[in-house]
């Protein structure tokens, strides 16, 4: 049963020990560096082969809440960490909350927008750019369809689910969901047939 799960390794890990065990260290390290470069550039090339993408529109906020500026244009932005009287359903937790707070992501001046550290403002339909700032590698995976989810056409126009469709930005861990019922066990089917 050990061989049940056989792993398909990349070529590099398999070759590495071979080179390192070799007496000619300088040559082998050169080869390793070359390999790394090839792998690196290979990756970059394959990554840049796809640029355009479409986003599944985010779930609309309830009209009581959007546009945010309806209330916020009259409110002074308050960066102080505190218990809010409004937005009590929003708990910012388990997401490096000691280092950050609301206005590190929400634009203090225009509450309908999110604010990147570069000063660029993005809409809620580009909220993945917020996550990109800290979760670069997962964002890369997402952009190439191996984290997150795409729907539509495998060979044509596809739509991406935003990070926020699966992770609440305020408490981002994937929330447990109720499973669908298990299949009917064969014993039960047999019993039913006996009747």
């Amino acid at each position: 049963m050990e061989s049940f799960f056989l792993f398909k390794r990349g070529i590099l890990p398999r070759l590495l020990p071979h080179f390192l065990g070799n007496g000619n260290l300088r040559l082998s390290s050169l080869v390793v560096v070359l390999f790394c470069l090839i792998q690196l550039f290979g990756t970059i090339r394959s990554y840049s082969s796809e640029t355009e993408f479409f986003v599944v529109p985010p779930v609309a906020f309830s009209s009581d809440y959007f546009p945010c500026s309806e209330c916020h244009k009259d409110l002074e932005a308050n960066p102080e960490k505190r218990n809010l009287h409004q937005h009590t359903e929003i708990v910012y937790k388990d997401h490096a909350e000691d280092e950050r707070w609301c206005l590190d992501c929400h634009d203090p001046a225009d509450r309908d927008k999110l604010l990147l550290t570069t000063g660029e403002k993005v809409g809620f339909d580009a909220s993945h750019k917020i996550c990109w700032q800290c979760h670069g590698s997962l964002h890369n995976d997402w952009q190439h369809g191996i984290h997150g989810k795409r729907i539509g056409n495998w060979d044509g126009r596809k739509q991406y689910y935003l990070c926020a469709a699966c992770h609440n930005p305020h408490t981002p861990a994937f929330r447990p969901i109720t499973p669908e019922p298990p299949p009917v066990a064969p014993e039960k089917t047999l019993k039913r047939r006996d009747k």
Binding site: M1, T43, G148, P182, V184
Partner: protein, 296 residues
């Protein structure tokens, strides 16, 4: 010559009898065309068209709604591959039921193309897997989940054992079944190490309002009692360029699908960036279904 019943007379009578039974058969609506229908692989495209039209009429009449049957062929330079990210799968079984609905699968006698099993975090032995888990919420701490369905083998044992060539591999890699040629011997069920083949022990019943009217001859068209069926990667969708239903329903994004010959496809990205493994690789079935752990 005092034989009361001559050989000549006997032949005459049986001839007449057979003839009238033939005629009677036609009168009762016996479907000669389907009786002489060829194996799908041997049909010309004109024959395919005729068969498909006849089936559309039959199914539409039976279900009282328009049912289309397509015979879209495989695309060139396309071999489908499937990836399953075990780091992300939460075991919610949404895929199981989306598949049942999409593919017009029997409901009353339950058939599932996808089985999701639960395993303890450190477990690698499928014999210790649990099919019937049903906690209030998934994922549960300390376990992972593994969906298993037809692995679309490149060296498919089911195809080898089929005595009537009702099973074969299409050029895009999908292992297809001609339900009209299946004799129900179930040799393929015994041959498949993944338990992917399912048998219709009874006539499958699907509520009329739940019929998916977009079907493919080799895919989700209505089946009858006594034939096998299995996952065909939603051939009715993927041949039109769409993702399979299980990919689109997965709330965790654990399912990846694409053309193995296209370096920019998701499945190739996954193969390039993660260590993948195949189920029961040592049996040399050469699945085009890859499992991997993307995180940690």
């Amino acid at each position: 010559m005092n034989q009361p019943f001559s050989r000549r007379k006997f032949l005459k009578l049986t001839g007449a009898g057979l003839g009238s039974s033939f005629l009677g058969g036609c009168g009762n609506g016996f479907d000669w065309e389907s009786f002489f229908q060829k194996n799908f692989q041997e049909m010309t495209s004109a024959e395919k068209n005729r068969v498909v039209q006849r089936l559309e009429k039959k199914y539409s009449g039976h279900y009282g709604m328009p049912v289309s049957v397509s015979a879209t062929p495989a695309r060139e330079n396309t071999v489908f591959g499937y990836g399953l990210d075990l780091s992300l799968c939460v075991g919610c079984r949404r895929c199981v039921y989306a598949c049942v609905k999409e593919n017009n699968i029997s409901r009353d006698v339950q058939i599932h193309y996808i089985r999701v099993v639960k395993m303890a975090e450190s477990e690698r032995n499928l014999e210790k897997a649990d099919h019937y888990y049903s906690p209030a919420k998934v994922p549960e701490h300390g376990s992972y989940y593994m969906p298993i369905q037809c692995q679309q083998c490149d060296n498919p044992p089911c195809v080898k054992v089929c005595p009537v060539k009702a099973l074969w591999q299409e050029s895009d890699g999908i292992v297809a079944i001609d339900y009209d040629w299946c004799i129900g011997c179930r040799d393929c069920m015994a041959a498949c190490p993944y338990r992917a083949m399912k048998f219709n022990w009874r006539t499958p019943h699907i509520p009329k309002n739940e019929i998916n009217g977009e079907t493919h001859f080799l895919g989700n068209r209505p089946r009858v009692r006594g034939v096998v069926e299995k996952c065909h990667l939603c051939i009715q969708r993927v041949r039109e360029g769409r993702y399979p239903a299980c990919v689109e329903i997965c709330p965790a994004g654990a399912r990846k699908f694409g053309n193995l010959l296209d370096p920019a496809s998701e499945i190739r990205m996954a193969l390039n960036h993660f260590r993948t493994f195949k189920l029961k690789e040592e049996l040399n079935t050469q699945p085009k279904f890859f499992y991997f752990f993307s995180l940690g």
